[in-house]
Amino acid sequence: MGVPTFFLLLFFVYPLLRILWTSLTPGAHLDLAPFAEVFRRPTLRAAAWFTLWQAVISTALTLLAGLPGAYVFARFDFPGRSVLRAVITVPFVLPAVVVGSAFLVLLGPAGPLGVDLRRTVWAILIAHVFYNYAVVLRTVGGLWAHLDPRLEDAARVLGAGRWRIFREVTLPLLRPALAAAASIVFLFTFTSFGVILILGGLRYATLEVEIYRQTTSFLNLPLAGALSVLQLVGVSAILFVYSRYQERRAVEQTLRPARETARRPRTPGEYLLVFGTLGFTGLLLGTPLFVLVERSFRTSAGYGLTFYRALADTQGSALFVPPVVAVRNSLVFALAAMALALVIGLMAATVVAYMRGAVSRWFDVLLMLPLGTSAVTIGLGFILAFDRPIDLRTSPVLIPLAHALVAVPFVVRTAAPVMRSVKGSLREAAAVLGAAPARVWREVDLPLVTRSALVGAGFAFAISLGEFGATAFIARPDTPTLPVAIYRLLGQPGSLNLGRAMAMNTILMVTTALAILLIERFRVVEESEF
């Protein structure tokens, strides 16, 4: 518990307190007027309310959309399964400005739906499902793949119908993973920013958008600080409730290796389910991705590689570096962030899974908070916090640190439910047989947790690969990451800039899918019978 706590206190709580304190004490003493201001202004009250309800609905919709996929990917074996699972993670890393442009086309009057959903709440909700689908599929699917199918078989033999089995056997067993996915999707959509701005237009604003506005457009740090506090209080309250619920609901069970539970579809009904689910996923995720890839190849003279070739031409300026360099920068940061997130996340997950009581609950809330905190606020906190004794404020080291902060919750949320489900009796048996605690962990917990930790690692990698805000905060012109390069290209008019940005975006998509595939191939220990 020491290491993760120390990490969070130093790189999250401390910078956050510094910036909030500075923001809320403009005249050397605490000024609470900005809080009154928040409640006085109708636009800010509306933003708070909208933040909450759109997050709740987005979370519910994402769960609903993602569950069939989680089931199909966990329980059925079909050709291309691992490639598809990697591709599904791709939306997660794409810059909002790029995804937004695809959705503006697809949801416009000329789009396949035939209705104009641009700048409506529907566009926001659909985009949130698009972004977070992978969270449900992978978090819930991760546990589902390990559920013992014999429990369901037993229920079937006893005469239970399909729906009843799902409701009374499967769902309770999946609950830890469902709750984990829900909490992550909730936090992500609660602090949604780019999607809201681009697809929601003027009418919709989250607290995150308001914090950004107050900070960068009005330089009103006191009000931004008050809004950040409000956002934090809301997030903490919800997380605390979640954490209590989690603890009471955990069910110990016998987990099975994933390869044992997955099989080829057999009956026509199963084929229908698999194809139906894949078709839906293809429509939801595939269409926008396809639009983006297609655009990177579409030139005025038909399809071609013009824009990819143009990436090599850097126009002799630091505006732009060759794509390999951007890919390399992104990979270096992502690897560092992933390693950091894995080490800290797994330690933290152990604490969360095995400890009970108030300390553990607060610890759990603290772990998740970075996901629910305004990026601008924490970024400015970094600038205030790390000038003494060593000036780290402009150091590139802060980039993977900031990314890891956001990635740790993923590792915890994917690993902890599996850890919690491991039967205590297995561990006790090993201890009785004379295994030292370290060996118990290595030989009992580790093999079980590896698979889900890899899912967490994949997310950690993806988060870092796609992150823009923190990276842009302390960027150097000569070391842009892929998203930074995309934003830079989109900053100037011209078909060549747009085309190169799209080509760069396709490179980002391919890099992500390949990285996730590689991570999933990786095995610490061979999964054994357990």
């Binding site: 937004g100 003027l202 400890m355 600038i383 003494r388 012109p477």
Partner: protein, 369 residues
């Protein structure tokens, strides 16, 4: 397994970490004073100077190296987010600045930056090359480096022979001929969006029989589309040039048509878009020596370098802005494919700072109808 045994070390560590955190906090908040020593008369020469700027900054390879060759000092460029984020960072760190020179504060933020006492005065020997209308600070705490005009761009294909005439004034935009043709950016999230709002305030004023509010009410009734950022407005909603939308009028820059030509996929002999010089708002970007620097003299040299023709002539094709130094030669594309507004609108930076929030709030009420 005993749970109690596991919890206790956790609590101890938590408490210890809490104490550590408290100490860090006190150290961080309290320590600011002792570091403000006055610089010694013989100022040492630094190995490196840091230039803090925003994320649109770009420079050709070899330009900053010329400064190094001249002085033996390396220049490290620190891009600190968008202009607002950069200024926040500069204000929060003014006791122990992140850089020696800051470049990129514009006339909409100037008043606030000066009120925070971020800069120390410096009169560049090149100041007499800078037109007087760009010199907004009589005390020379900031030096104008570049300017750009935010103005309406139009899709050449949609006007003239195939459509209505190109609008000639802001007022024209409210007439039925241009219904549903204009897309603008939200002034609360976009810098050109704010500039356009300020242009309308400068043009129509706050009092009289037709105020800026009246203009926006009419614009709204005439189907203006507001989007959050320039990228969407230009690429998703504008129909001209590289835009893929259906609106032939957009708020962009006077330098956008040259960019369309330079960054065209196929060689062009003419810009696909044009600018409307009426109702343009001039954004001026400044640089200044950050007051806490240890090397004010050398920082001054860097500031002079930013105003030198070497840097100034490189700027247009990298950042698509116009050089403040009137001796700097413009690239051919900037002469050929655009028109620089002769009498752009401006507002006093102090008025902008004092009223920005109120104006934006009133504006939002009008366009949300």
């Amino acid at each position: 397994m005993s749970e109690g045994r596991r919890v206790r070390p956790g609590i101890v560590l938590l408490l210890l970490s809490g104490v550590l955190l408290g100490l860090l906090f006190l150290a961080g908040c309290g320590g600011g004073e002792e570091s403000t020593t006055t610089s010694a008369p013989a100022e040492p020469k630094p190995q490196e100077l840091v230039l803090m700027t925003h994320d649109s900054f770009a420079v050709s390879e070899g330009v900053l190296e010329d400064f190094t060759a001249e002085t033996g000092i390396n220049v490290r460029v620190l891009q600190a987010g968008d202009a607002g984020t950069m200024l926040n960072q500069a204000i929060l760190t003014k006791d122990n600045p992140l850089a020696d020179v800051l470049y990129g504060v514009d006339n909409t933020f100037l008043s606030r930056a000066l009120a925070e006492n971020l800069f120390m005065p410096h009169t560049s020997p090149l100041m007499d090359t800078v037109p007087v209308e760009l010199q907004l600070d009589p005390e020379y705490r900031v030096t104008p480096i570049d300017y750009g005009d935010v103005c309406l761009n139009y899709d050449k294909e949609a006007f003239g022979a195939s459509g209505p005439p190109v609008p000639e004034s802001l007022r024209d935009l409210t007439t039925p001929a241009y219904k549903n043709m204009l897309v603008v950016e939200d002034p609360s999230t976009s810098s050109p969006g704010l500039a356009f709002l300020l242009a309308t305030i400068a043009e129509f004023g706050e009092a009289g029989d037709y105020t800026w509010q009246d203009f926006w009410r009419d614009l709204n009734a005439n189907g203006v589309l507001v989007v959050s950022g320039w990228e969407e407005a230009y690429y998703s909603d504008f129909s001209g040039g590289s835009g893929a939308g259906d609106r032939p009028l957009v708020v962009s820059y006077a330098s956008s048509p040259p960019a369309e030509v330079i960054f065209s996929e196929t060689p062009l002999t003419e810009a696909p878009t044009g600018v409307i010089t009426q109702g343009a708002f001039r954004q001026i970007e400044f640089a200044g020596i950050l007051a806490g620097t240890e090397y004010p003299t050398w920082a001054g040299r860097l500031l002079d370098f930013l105003l030198s023709t070497r840097f100034q002539e490189d700027m247009p094709l990298n950042m698509f802005v116009f050089p403040a130094n009137s001796q700097a030669k413009l690239p051919e594309a900037f002469v050929k494919y655009t028109t620089v507004p002769e009498s752009p609108l401006t507002l006093d930076p102090q008025a902008i700072d004092a009223n920005r929030e109120r104006w934006i709030e009133e504006w939002a009420r009008i366009v949300l109808g």
